[in-house]
């Protein structure tokens, strides 16, 4: 920025007008940079979805001809690919399994992380912080290492080749991650209101229920969103522990059944992805503000 110039005389009208014009230009310039950046990233994020949706309704002849523009329908759109997805694979079953696994994993994660994060922030004294980080480190061990020992666990529990295997295994990564996330939240909530609630007539549990949890709803939502996302895109464990179609979740179901040898059923794959992605995207958008609030809070304080 230029150093300010101090004039002894008053600036004349022309100069003032010029100054104002320059300011407006600067504002306009700032705006246009902002909007072009936003447009670019919107396009960047939305383009794959658009392409995916377009591909769903394409005929094979249209899709595989390299001379065709991929963003236009050169042959009329068709529903055959979606029909194939539902009629020749157990897609509805995959969805059902995914929903069951997600609900169980999210509930288990919440039930385990809320008390864990609470005790680590409030009750464990100076060990809490280090323990929290140690727990988080567990999350960083890749599933490609863990699936071998975990397969023993799954076998012992008698849930091999069943979606229950995923309900058992997925919390092993959602809990560490979400515990660490929630610790950041609980740390940002003042002790005072909890102690005040205890003075006002509640037990510690009652005080937590009525003050800490309502105030940490953004944090709890963040936990739900993250455990949901981690569950939806998990692949290695699902592939390793489940082989029968009736027990598969979407992430492995469609990839194992719509890629037959070297034949990719691209349009049906895209349909399978779009059908789950769109409701999830809408759900996330509904909670976007709280979600961001939660995530940044956790990130800064964690």
């Amino acid at each position: 920025m230029a150093a300010p110039v101090y004039r002894a005389s008053l600036p004349d009208a022309n100069e003032l007008a010029r100054e104002r014009r320059r300011a407006r230009l600067r504002r306009f310039g700032g705006r246009s940079v902002l909007y072009s950046a936003a447009s670019f990233f919107t396009l960047f994020a939305a383009l794959p979805f658009a392409w995916m949706l377009l591909t769903v309704f394409k005929q094979n002849a249209d899709l595989y001809d390299p001379n065709h523009n991929p963003f236009l329908y050169n042959s009329p759109p068709t529903l055959d690919n979606v029909r194939l997805l539902f009629e020749q694979t157990q897609y509805a079953t995959f969805i059902r399994n995914t929903v069951f696994v997600s609900v169980f994993v999210v509930v288990i994660t919440l039930v385990a992380t809320v008390p864990a994060a609470y005790s680590l922030t409030r009750l464990a004294g100076r060990w809490g912080e280090s323990l929290g980080i140690a727990i988080f480190l567990v999350y960083l061990i890749p599933p490609t290492l863990l699936f071998i020992p975990l397969s023993r666990v799954v076998a012992e529990l008698g849930v091999r080749n069943s979606w229950w295997a995923m309900v058992v295994v997925y919390p092993s990564f959602t809990i560490p991650f979400c515990t660490w996330l929630l610790m950041g939240f609980f740390k940002s909530i003042p002790w005072d209101i909890e102690e005040q609630a205890m003075i006002d007539g509640y037990s510690r549990l009652g005080a937590i229920w009525r003050t800490v949890l309502p105030v940490s709803i953004p944090g709890l939502l963040t936990v739900v969103v993250f455990s949901l996302a981690l569950t939806l895109h998990e692949f290695v464990y699902a592939l390793a522990f489940v082989t029968s179609s009736a027990e598969k979740t979407i992430s492995i179901g469609v990839t194992t059944e719509l890629i037959r040898g070297d034949v990719y059923f691209w349009q049906s794959l895209m349909a399978a992805a779009a059908i789950v992605a769109i409701p999830v995207a809408i759900l996330y958008n509904l909670f976007l503000d709280r979600f961001i609030a939660g995530f940044t809070l956790g990130a800064v304080k964690g």
Binding site: D192, I193, E195, M198, I199, D200, Y202, S203, T211, V215
Partner: protein
Amino acid sequence: MAAIEARGITKRFDGGGGAAVDGIDLASTDGEFLVLLGPSGCGKTTLLRMIGGLEPPTAGDILIGGRVVTDLPPRARHIAMVFQSYALYPHMTVFNNIAFPLQAAKLPKETQKQKVGWASGILGIDHLLDRKPRQLSGGQRQRVALARALVREPNVFLLDEPLSNLDAQRRASARDELQQFQRRVGTTTLYVTHDQVEAMGMGDRIAVMDQGRIRQVGTPLEIYDDPADTFVATFLGSPPMNLIPDGASGLLFGFRPEHFVPASDATGDDAVRFPFHVHRTEYLGAERLLYGAVGETRTIARFPANADLPIHVGATSEFAVRRRDLKRFDRETGLRRDQIRGIG
């Protein structure tokens, strides 16, 4: 029967050196406004939290209404506490904040409404009941916190520096309101502060604390006129009490700046004389301060601004203190060596 009583109460924190609260005995009388005064870090909050049941004592007992409550959780003590931060529930409206203790007691909805109306009326916040705490000013938050404390008609109020979040102007009027409020409801109050003006102005009695111990308990007058040791003598009063070592007796002579007057004004022969060398005078509107030294010791004298003083800066003149205004302290222990009133 004392509303609040501490018996040999002690608190040591893990890994934290000495005791934060070191064997305190303290009893309030029924309905009194008892102020706990001491410098920052002397253990006031810790003592208050032990009385409230938020911190388990290392040793000793807490009695409320004559009953030992040391092992009872906070909710069973039937007390109200106002935190320094006010600790309003951010997700609730003012109404629900105030009604919260009543909900905890499972009172019928109608009764809750009526009591919230009563408490918010006393504190003049009826019009704020639908707001959330973040929409309130500091002073309004303080009233909401007080209303919430009042609404359950507790045995005891515990207040931890409730005025420290207000700006200086609001603080003076809030002091007045708070005291009137306590007089009207007549509930025994333990009020923690590090501000001697608050303590002197509001307390029926003051307990002066330092390093986890009670140094003296007494009315503001007793504490000011008859400090039990040099800590109390210098902690209260602004400027503080002068302390001059006396060669003959090996004691410290203490006297208030306003009792240090030119020898010619000290009538009778019961005055003790000191040669006072004046370095500087300070004119503070209503009063005038003379800064100087008696021997090697810094000493201050205070006069009304309109006093006619034949004093020159840089000169030494004969000053005196009436014998009954002179306090004697042990030079080693700092304890008073002459007769005093009001030791708790």
